[in-house]
């Protein structure tokens, strides 16, 4: 094992061999835990996140796991990781590159090293660095010994060995004992970053309540890791990342899928309707099904159907019965649901369809993120079948967007699509907990009495008589005396809903359904343009909000003028969108697809937007966006500075994402008071 060179050009975690422990201040840290999928890296990351959240840092997380449940141990495909970015200021992304990598085996080191910048710290468990293991993943020599990691701040430790030693008294097999190594590592980094540890100990006590041996071993390993930091000579520096100054309020950490589940329940409750979810398991949407299944006490029914078609069918049937029908899936499942979505458009019943997008086409890369289903959900049905489309912009925003979807679905009697993606689904961030009583009440406004008079002067019910304001049809549910009626997928006559093949009626109904969706009230898009002089607007939608926001901050840090706006409503678009687009010289649209929003904007507004398209299955990077944005700003403004290009400068910033200027009090793209990071207000 090499000895660490004291003169390493270490980046953040520079090591000094002093006896007293020094405390260094950092404004932000990106840390990544990586190991075999059996090593419990997601749990470790979750716990570190919980500790960090309770400490009061702002944070953002990015779990990354293999599609295989148990790929062979020690192989590259079996590597699972969890990245956390935490800071003393508000942040928008899980960070492009880790400052610290904890690698639990050679494969984890190899698979992650390409993302780690030189100078970063590597804490490596050496236990598995045997010739055989190394060979298996293509190392001829031990990289810990060859000097090839000299540019990093390498801390090789036999974490497994020390774990086994620390749990000796519990008499576990070596295999069982070494399982606690993730807690040992967690203890060590908890010490290193001065995290509060009580919550993890309580967590372990509860989680392993039924298995005292395992519980005690995990707690002992966690404590031993912490104490190792305290006593070992390797660690003479601890780091402090002060709590972030966030708006006053009570916070929790929440992932996108959990926020979505809670938002759906909140929407149903605000409407006073039972919620019926029909779903078929699919990554990365299954957690919404899991979470809702736990919420039966909220009058939530979950039907795990035989396929996605049955899932949406059950949801639509429940909506016909007067419940809020919901279905959750990902792209392949949405494909299967198309025909039933079309039926929902015809029946004009409330229905919430959540598409937690993943990388496609076909089965694609199930555990990777993408936003390439936009055109599918907009147009992927036969005939003219318009429906509202919403997209969450951050994990916590999934809550607000689900409530908004319920509002639109119920108010307008229409299927509504909610777009999320794998990045939002599994990522998490602090969330200022909303007061649920303050959420808008939703009025299902059921029809209980006849709403018209027939030729004979008798009171009658017309199921397709519309509210002149919203164009929502009159909705009477089975069980309402005197209002029995039949609806279906065949074209219906205006007002009566009877089958009709009349050409003029068909044209009228097509236009009416379109007008209803076009008329959904959507808040205007707000633009973050600090002094109103930017020539370039960057416009995004969905989960790119964080990376774009971070890229925008970097560009501003190096003096670039840039406006930022983000769409949460994709159909209909906010009414002022056209004016906003036309008021900038250039509009840049970054997307994790080949330019789907760009295509819609060009078609609708005849604005020649600049598309920045990347489909790697990973979120866009802040530095990458800073470069693209910076270059476009420079080009548009006609700045000609050979010495240093703005894009390059913005991209190479290491700490350029702190929000330091927000002049003129103009708010940025947040359109919803429920969101955390009310940046404009600070």
């Amino acid at each position: 094992m090499p000895t660490r060179r004291p003169d390493d050009p270490s980046f953040d975690l520079e090591m000094k061999r002093t006896v007293t422990i020094e405390v260094k201040q950092l404004d932000r840290v990106v840390i990544r835990f990586a190991g075999d999928s059996g090593d419990g890296m997601q749990l470790t990351g979750d716990r570190f996140t919980a500790e960090t959240a309770s400490f009061g840092n702002d944070l953002s997380t990015l779990p990354n796991f293999p599609a295989e449940i148990r790929a062979p141990a020690g192989t590259l495909p079996g590597v699972s990781s969890f990245q956390l970015h935490f800071a003393d200021h508000d942040i928008l992304t899980p960070g492009d590159a880790p400052d610290v990598l904890i690698a639990m085996n050679p494969a984890a080191l190899k698979a992650n090293l390409k993302d780690v910048p030189r100078g970063a710290t590597l804490i490596v468990d050496t236990a598995d660095f045997t010739a055989r293991n190394l060979k298996r993943i293509g190392y001829d020599e031990n990289p810990l010994e060859t000097g090839e990691l000299d540019a990093y701040h390498l801390i090789p430790l036999n974490l497994t060995g020390m774990t086994v030693e620390s749990v000796k008294e519990f008499g576990l097999t070596r295999k069982d004992a070494s399982r606690a190594k993730n807690m040992y590592a967690l203890g060590l980094v908890s010490w290193l970053f001065q995290r509060p540890v009580e919550s993890t100990i309580t967590f372990l006590e509860t989680k392993f309540a039924g298995k005292p041996d395992i519980r005690d071993a995990n707690i002992a390993a966690f404590r031993a890791g912490y104490n190792f930091g305290e006593t070992a000579e390797e660690f003479s520096v601890r780091y402090e990342v002060k709590p972030a100054s966030m708006a006053a309020g009570t916070y929790r950490n929440i992932s996108g899928n959990l926020a979505l589940a809670y938002g759906l329940v909140a929407g149903a409750q605000r409407a006073g309707l039972p919620l019926v979810l029909g779903a078929y398991p699919i990554t990365p949407a299954s957690d919404v099904l899991h979470e809702l299944s736990k919420l039966k006490r909220f009058n939530v029914t979950t039907v795990q159907a035989e396929d996605e078609i049955a899932g949406i069918g059950a949801a639509l049937g429940a909506s016909f019965g007067g419940a809020l029908g919901v279905t959750t899936s990902s792209g392949p499942g949405i494909s299967l649901k198309s025909e039933t979505i079309g039926l929902g458009v015809m029946l004009e019943l409330p229905l919430v369809i959540c598409d937690i997008q993943r990388a496609g086409p076909s089965t694609g890369m199930p555990t990777k993120t993408e936003q390439a289903d936009l055109l599918q959900v907009m147009f992927g049905r036969n005939g003219e079948a318009p429906l509202p489309v919403l997209a969450a912009q951050s994990p916590a925003d999934c809550f607000a967007i689900a409530v908004e979807a319920a509002r639109i679905a119920i108010t307008y009697r229409t299927p509504v699509i909610v777009l999320s993606d794998g990045y939002l689904a599994n990522g998490s961030e602090p969330w200022q907990i909303p007061v649920v009583a303050d959420l808008p009440a939703i009025d299902p406004n059921f029809t209980l009495e006849p709403n018209a008079t027939n030729d004979k002067g008798e009171p009658t019910y017309l199921p397709y008589l519309r509210d002149p304001e919203t164009l929502a049809r009159a909705w009477a549910v089975p069980g309402t005396a005197g209002l029995d009626h039949r609806i279906g997928g065949l074209e219906k006559e205006d007002k009566t809903g009877n089958i009709s093949y009349d050409p003029a009626n068909h044209d009228l109904m097509i236009r009416t359904r379109q007008a209803k969706v076009d008329g959904v009230d959507v808040p205007p898009i707000e633009v973050d343009d600090p002094d109103g002089t930017a020539k370039v607007l960057v416009l995004g939608w969905g989960s790119t909000y964080g990376p774009i926001g971070a890229g925008v901050r970097r560009v501003r840090t190096v003096g670039g003028k840039i406006a930022h706006a983000h769409l949460r409503h994709l159909n209909p678009f906010p009414e002022n969108l056209g004016d906003v687009l036309r008021s900038y010289d250039k509009v840049l649209v970054p997307e994790m697809n080949l330019g789907q929003l760009a295509m819609l904007l060009r078609a609708k507004y005849l604005v020649d937007v600049v598309s920045y398209a990347q489909v790697r299955g990973m979120p866009l990077g802040a530095a990458e966006l800073a470069e693209v944005i910076g270059n476009l700003v420079e080009e548009t403004e006609g700045i000609d500075d050979d010495a240093r290009h703005m894009g390059e400068a913005a991209a190479s910033l290491t700490h350029g994402e702190a929000l330091h200027t927000q002049p003129n009090g103009r708010t940025n793209g947040h359109t919803n008071g429920q969101l955390h990071h009310p940046e404009g207000a600070r």
Binding site: G317, G479, L490
Partner: protein
């Protein structure tokens, strides 16, 4: 939304939870104002008439009847009944009805489907609805042809059938719908014939009273594309020897003067024999027990159906056993959750256990 009035007179199992009518009803009340548009002579007319005549006798509120159909000639059925109804999409009615039944214990939910709708495009939903035993009634109009799309062979068409899409004869092996339903462990499985109103009505009644999924195959003539497919069961000359009548508690004996009967034949099989040739005579015949737990018995009965051109088939209730209904269990879990955990505090839910406060 109406709720269950607990003060109602009690209705049979299948209708438990559905509010009873306060006044007697008549057939006319169930006839909608829509013009019926099936071809003249179509078997669907007879079924509709029988159904309209039968509904009033259920004694439930008309507004608490919900019909859900798929696509096909038969799936137009809901339009002609003045109840709540949904004419949905091809094959999906069982899935939609499942959601409706789960959400609304106060409705009597009926699915109307065809042989193509239920067994081809919707086969998956059918078997899963049956295995779950959702409290809904499925009427499968089997005309052994695709009627609405003008005469292609269906999953129940006999091998060798010449249709527009099989000019050289169908090479598909058909489904026996009753066998299929039993394979999915359906708790109530019956077969009846469009033209026998009395029998049809009795089967509908038994289906309505069953708690769980009731599966009823109705032999339905399509005079346009598959005329006389069930002629053997209708022609006075042949029908006595064609219909194997299933009457619970009675020996299965049929044919002119009762000369034929059903006996056990080898391992888990049944066979039709001349009663006169049986050593024990009528005593050797199988006494029909629709409540037999093991579906193998009903399955063996279903195998007495001809696979090709139909000359003989059992008619009646093959199986009627009790098993908890899916939707009842689903609702029971909600009740239990609410009893043990309270009715759910939304604020507490979103707040969760790990919070921190910034002043």
């Amino acid at each position: 939304m109406s709720t269950v009035d607990l003060g109602l007179p009690s209705l049979p199992g299948g209708l438990r939870g559905v509010p009873a009518a306060t006044e007697p009803q008549n057939r006319k009340e169930y006839v909608s104002d829509q013009e019926v548009r099936w071809c003249p002579g179509c078997g669907d007319y007879a079924v509709l008439a029988a159904f309209q005549g039968f509904l009033p006798e259920l004694g439930i509120k008309r507004e608490n009847v919900a019909m859900v159909s798929g696509i096909g000639c038969s799936s137009r059925f809901p339009y002609y009944l003045s109840t709540y109804g949904m004419h949905s999409i091809h094959g999906r009615a069982p899935a939609i009805a499942t959601g409706l039944a789960v959400a609304r214990p106060d409705l009597s939910v009926w699915v109307v489907t065809g042989d193509g709708d239920a067994l081809s495009i919707g086969g998956n939903h059918l078997i899963h609805t049956l295995r779950r035993n959702v409290n809904l009634k499925i009427l499968l109009f089997n005309n052994r042809i695709y009627g609405l799309t003008k005469g292609q062979y269906s999953p129940t068409s006999e091998p060798g059938k010449v249709t527009k899409s099989t000019p050289m004869g169908s090479v598909d092996n058909p489904f026996n719908p009753v066998s299929l339903a039993l394979g999915a462990e359906a708790t109530f499985v019956a077969r009846t014939v469009d033209s026998d109103r009395k029998h049809l009505t009795s089967v509908l009644r038994a289906a309505a009273e069953h708690r769980g999924t009731a599966f009823v195959e109705i032999y339905q003539n399509c005079p346009i594309f598959n005329d006389n497919a069930f002629e053997a069961f209708k022609d006075p000359e042949t029908r006595d020897d064609a219909i194997i009548p299933l009457v619970h508690g009675e020996p299965i004996r049929f044919g002119t003067d009762g000369h034929l009967g059903v006996v056990r034949d080898g391992f888990a099989s049944l066979a039709v024999r001349e009663v006169a040739e049986l050593p024990g005579g009528e005593a050797d015949l199988v006494v029909h027990d629709a409540h037999t737990e093991d579906p193998a018995y009903a399955f063996a009965l279903s195998r007495l159906t001809d696979a090709g051109v139909l000359h003989r088939a059992p008619i009646g209730v093959f199986r009627s056993v009790e098993r908890p209904a899916y939707d009842d269990l689903v609702r029971q879990q909600i009740t239990t959750a609410q009893e043990t955990q309270g009715t759910g505090d939304l604020q507490a839910l979103v707040t969760g256990a790990d919070t921190w406060t910034i002043n």
